[in-house]
């Protein structure tokens, strides 16, 4: 009997031994890019078997806290740290992916991207000042649409989230009333509406409640087949949310003059820019002790920024523009 137990333990250890790589790198944080990160870690483990990367989807706040505490090697976050915050915590921050946050609606007989809104109207809806879909302010933007006399139900995130940070940052930029009353944050004091848990929860509530409007990462809206909204951008153009308008927004960013690479891609200039675009970031410790580990990790990030593009695009995320990738490679990931 004892022999069998020893044998079993030995074989279990042997299995672990085969799987354990020379270097294991643990990351965690933002849940918005997690689908891409998971595909990346899987593909990367296939081609470089001696480096094992793990990414746990914990949420942006948890990513920041844990990389500060040193329990993980790199953290992912959607709400960037300012240069001062980075220096205080001894962290380096750089962008990894771009994606869009989109308002989604459930109004009977309204087609995808058919409803046009501008920033102020959107803010007023989320402030609870516009309560009916046939409100003159909405009708004026959509002269040809027959809008129903239906109550608007606002749906927002109930948990704290980088998506909310990007969305409220946009609303604060386009509406001074929003900025004063609510402000920007990964969780805010919502004036009206009902909350859904994570992106799927918001999608679900919008899907369930007729006359509702919510916001979510673009990927989730596509997967849930929910109707997006066309928004008026800073240049006065109405743009639909898609990969092109997200990249247009990213291309108009001046990364080189952004201290600490702190950048919000909301309300960007440019005719084709989608106004609520967001960047997701990676955080690593500045004085990373283990040199081998640091090498392997930077190699991995390099691979993600170059070879990882195709899998990111497939999942509706926009890879960073080429000039920014080059800048990152020469300045940070050297």
């Amino acid at each position: 009997m004892k022999k069998i137990i020893f044998g079993a333990i030995a074989s279990v250890l042997a299995v672990f031994n085969i799987q354990s790589a020379d270097i294991t790198i643990n990351g965690g944080g933002a849940s918005f890019p997690a689908p891409v990160y998971q595909v990346w870690t899987y593909s990367y483990n296939q081609i470089t078997p001696n480096t094992r990367i793990n990414y746990q989807s914990l949420g942006s706040g948890a990513g920041i806290n844990q990389v500060k505490a040193g329990t993980i090697d790199f953290g992912g976050t959607d709400n960037p740290l300012t240069k001062e915050q980075q220096e205080e915590a001894g962290l380096i921050q750089f962008p990894m992916l771009t994606g869009g946050v989109v308002p989604i609606v459930n109004i009977p007989r309204i087609q995808p991207n058919q409803l046009k809104l501008d920033g102020e109207t959107l803010a007023n809806i989320f402030l609870g000042k516009i309560t009916k879909w046939n409100d003159p302010a909405i009708q004026e933007l959509n002269p040809k649409l027959k809008l129903p006399n239906m109550k608007i139900t606002v749906v927002h995130r109930s948990d704290s989230s980088g998506t909310t940070y990007i969305f409220t940052d946009y609303l604060s930029k386009v509406s001074s009333e929003w900025k004063d009353k609510v402000g920007t944050g990964s969780a805010v004091e919502w004036p009206t509406g009902l909350g859904g848990q994570k992106n799927p929860g918001v999608c679900n509530n919008v899907f369930k409640v007729r006359g509702s409007i919510g916001y979510t990462e673009y990927t989730y809206a596509v997967e849930a087949k929910l109707n997006c909204v066309t928004l008026k951008n800073k240049s006065g153009q109405f743009v639909a949310p898609n990969m092109e308008s997200f990249s247009a927004s990213a291309a108009n960013a001046d990364w080189k003059n952004a201290p600490g690479l702190y950048m919000m891609l909301t309300d960007m200039e440019g005719e084709n820019s989608w106004p609520i675009t967001g960047v997701t970031y990676i955080l690593v410790k500045k004085d990373f002790k283990d040199a081998d580990k640091k090498d392997a990790m930077y190699k991995y990030f390099n691979w993600c920024l170059t070879k990882g593009n195709t899998s990111a695009s497939k999942l509706n995320y926009v890879p960073l523009p080429e000039n920014l990738v080059e800048f990152l490679q020469t300045e940070i990931l050297k």
Binding site: L58, G59, S60, G61, A62, N65, K151, T153, S158, D159, S160, S161, V182, G183, T184, G185, S186, A187, V188, E189, W190, G193, L194, G195, G196, Q197, N204, N205, K208, V209, R210, S212
Partner: protein, 308 residues
């Protein structure tokens, strides 16, 4: 022989005291972790209704009230239902009674997240499209003076009532199963004597069965109450998750448990302290209910003719 007895006694003592230590540990840990919240907001945290994560101003009142409201609705619905079903189950012909009893036990074993999903996918649309329009638009309850304000004109299927109904369905099997077992324990002689002096079934149930099993009955109710107080996932799905003062029954709101589940993953600093403080409040509420139940049973035991 003597030695083994000693060892066994010691082992039992350790195991039993772990429960007490665990309870004590929870209290100490919650108090320590929530200290920064109490220092910042003081005791007014309990009745402050503000919840602004951007300015880091927090108050517990919306969550506490939400917990109390949903629990009350749940008990109002579940108590009479489980009482009559338990009475019926005991008096049924053995075969049907057994099948229904099994179904009841099965119902108690369904994980809460399933109730939540059912609530979100089935109950919320029913509430939005049928129940709430009927109550508000057809019956015009919202237009009634005074009461109307508490019903609320605005509805979207989510809110306190929906959460209360889900909770009622969740605690019903617990309460009902315990009541059934208590009713069964009533000595047949007592029941038969009651019938013998001409009591109806209802009089027998009300005057004999309940009096005999009041301790167990209250125990069952408090188990249900405890579950309703702390239930998280099922409520979170359907309550609407708005941290503001509840004004009407169809409003969206939040409960302590739902607030904790929503915010814990990303909270740090003062907000984390606030969440621990909410956890402490919830624990105190459950604790208070237990103490009250024990006190009530003790205080009224003489009336029921129990021996002290």
């Amino acid at each position: 022989m003597f030695a083994t007895d000693k060892i066994f006694r010691l082992a039992c003592f350790i195991c039993a005291s772990i429960i007490g230590l665990l309870m004590l540990g929870f209290f100490i840990q919650l108090i320590c972790s929530s200290l920064i919240a109490w220092e910042e907001f003081g005791i007014s945290f309990l009745w402050s209704s503000e919840w602004d994560p951007v300015d880091e101003k927090f108050g517990a009142l919306p969550s506490i009230l939400g917990t109390l409201i949903t629990t009350t609705i749940a008990l109002i619905i579940a108590l009479p239902l489980s009482f009559v079903s338990a009475l019926y189950l005991v008096d049924l012909p053995a075969v049907i009674g057994k099948i229904l009893s099994q179904a009841l036990d099965l119902l108690a074993a369904i994980p809460s997240v399933i109730y939540g999903m059912w609530g979100l996918f089935i109950l919320v649309p029913i509430m939005q499209l049928h129940v709430q329009p009927f109550l508000v638009d057809t019956l015009g309850l919202a237009k009634l003076p005074f009461i109307g304000r508490f019903i609320g004109e605005y509805y979207n299927g989510f809110g306190f009532v929906t959460a209360g109904i889900i909770l009622a369905l969740m605690i019903l099997p617990y309460i009902c199963a315990i009541m059934r077992d208590i009713f069964k324990m009533t000595p047949p002689m007592l029941r038969e004597s009651a019938f013998g002096v001409g009591c109806t079934r209802w009089e027998t149930a009300w005057n004999i069965v309940i009096r005999y099993g009041i301790r167990g009955l209250l125990g069952g109710i408090f188990i249900g109450l405890g579950r309703a107080l702390g239930e998280t996932m099922a409520v979170l799905f359907v309550i609407g998750n708005m941290t503001e003062l509840p004004l009407a029954l169809f409003d969206s709101g939040t409960t302590i448990a739902a607030t904790l589940a929503n915010n814990f993953a990303e909270a740090d600093g003062i907000q984390r302290g606030v969440l621990f403080a909410l956890g402490l409040i919830l624990l105190m509420m459950s604790f208070g209910i237990q103490v009250f139940a024990q006190w009530y049973l003790h205080a009224t035991s003489a009336n029921r003719g129990e021996e002290r």
